[in-house]
């Protein structure tokens, strides 16, 4: 498990981006995803890439953590897509170019979602999903799932380190799948045990707070569409028009 991977983990900072209404950030994520798939021009993709970095700087996010989270993809994705495209299109420069563009698009999607989740707390995300009419139960599960991701990373790393301290040797071989699976059983069982215990405790805690006791769900007045949100929306629209012009 990559130790520094911070996928779907909220990092608190006192920044303009953190304070923004999460619905604006959701729209930002959607605009980015659409813009990335609408264009194949290197100029437009570079512009989106730069704007993504600008947002991460504005949000005062730790750049090293972002790099640690995406570096495995920066190395692997272009490589694997080049192999795939050479197979699909044939051994041509065009295939390499297409593969690089495609992998850069996916990298951008990963980067944008990392920035979104690093700047939006689970509670705000749940509220914004409900406000945009996602069914409450699904939004609730999705928010809980997002909160579980860093925990799964952490617990798995802890169990792996604990088993290593007991001199357990891990084998990873595609050619010997049975040996590989057998060597991972001492990790799988404790990880399941720890996480299922956590899930049970969490459900008890949620029930104790009266979850599902009322038919009508009420929300704290947390979301606020003010001047900052209007400015951010204007900037996003201008940027989208700029990117569309570059198409």
């Amino acid at each position: 498990m990559p130790q520094h991977m911070k996928f779907y983990e909220y990092i608190y900072r006192d920044s303009f981006i953190h304070r923004l209404d999460p619905r604006v950030k959701l729209v930002w994520l959607f605009v980015f995803s659409s813009a990335v798939f609408l264009t194949s021009r290197p100029g437009a993709i570079t512009a989106i890439f730069l704007s993504c970095f600008a947002v991460s700087f504005l949000a005062k996010l730790p750049q090293r953590q972002i790099w640690e989270s995406i570096k495995i993809f920066v190395i692997l994705m272009p490589l694997s897509y080049v192999v795939l495209y050479l197979f699909l299109i044939g051994i041509k420069w065009e295939a390499v170019f297409e593969a690089l563009i495609f992998s850069e698009k996916f990298l951008l999607l990963i980067l944008a979602s990392i920035i979104f989740t690093m700047t939006t707390s689970a509670r705000d995300m749940l509220l914004s999903l409900v406000k945009i009419k996602v069914p409450y139960t699904f939004a609730f599960m999705l928010t809980i799932a997002i909160r579980f991701i860093p925990l799964i990373f952490k617990e798995t790393n802890n169990v792996i380190n604990a088993q290593r301290a007991r001199a357990h040797e891990f084998t990873f071989s595609i050619l010997h799948p049975v040996t590989t699976v057998k060597s991972f059983i001492p990790v799988i069982i404790p990880v399941f045990t720890l996480l299922l215990k956590r899930a049970y405790e969490l459900s008890l805690s949620i029930d104790a707070r009266g979850f599902g006791s009322q038919k009508k769900i009420t929300y704290p007045d947390r979301l606020n569409f003010g001047v900052d949100e209007i400015i951010a929306s204007l900037v996003m629209t201008t940027f989208l028009l700029f990117v569309l012009k570059l198409l």
């Binding site: 139960t137 699904f138 990373f153």
Partner: protein
């Protein structure tokens, strides 16, 4: 509500587990082999193992569909599960539904889980391929001759994953107190 709170939380956990394992392990396998499809082959096994354990804990129809839909939603911005973007929810949800139907058809017996793993995983390839054609991804038609071969590999791995998941649950998890609490 059809699902209790503890069931909702467990399904969320299993959805997150599918996403995390597939996302990280896919990258690890890809880095070892360098072959794009190799990650999918490992992932199909892991996904079915996790789905089987989750569906064994929560004895209700729709568990596999919900877990796969959550995993699909979480992996929208990643390269996992083949199809790009929001289409992952549809393709993965369909696979989950097939598994759910097979499990219900054989009254949640181990044979039902194995059949579910076999059908769900085997059909992943044509479903993903159909989605890729609909999306107009370049060069997809060149993968046509490999669909049957990959479907068979995926189906066998899915059945093995279901068997392993059922074995893991029956032998190592079934009698634990927290599992009984989650089931009760």
């Amino acid at each position: 509500m059809y699902f209790k709170t503890k069931e909702l939380v467990t399904m969320a956990l299993f959805g997150a587990m599918i996403f995390t394992l597939v996302f990280v392990l896919g990258a690890v396998v890809l880095s070892v082999t360098g072959i794009p499809m190799s990650a999918g082959i490992t992932n199909v096994f892991i996904t079915v193992v996790v789905i089987t354990i989750g569906a064994k804990i929560i004895n209700k129809f729709g568990v596999a569909t919900v877990m796969t839909a959550i995993a699909g939603t979480l992996s929208i911005p990643t390269i996992s599960f083949g199809t790009p973007g929001i289409y992952k929810i549809i393709t993965l949800g369909l696979v989950g539904l097939i598994i759910d139907l097979a499990i219900s058809l054989l009254k949640r017996s181990n044979k039902g889980f194995i059949l579910g793993g076999l059908l769900g995983s085997g059909l992943t390839v044509p479903i993903t391929f159909a989605a890729m054609i609909l999306l107009g991804l370049p060069g997809v038609d060149k993968m046509k001759p490999f669909i049957l071969m990959f479907s068979l590999i995926y189906a066998v791995l899915g059945a093995m994953g279901a068997w392993f998941g059922a074995w893991l649950f029956e032998k190592k998890l079934k009698n634990k107190a927290f599992v009984k609490n989650l089931q009760g």
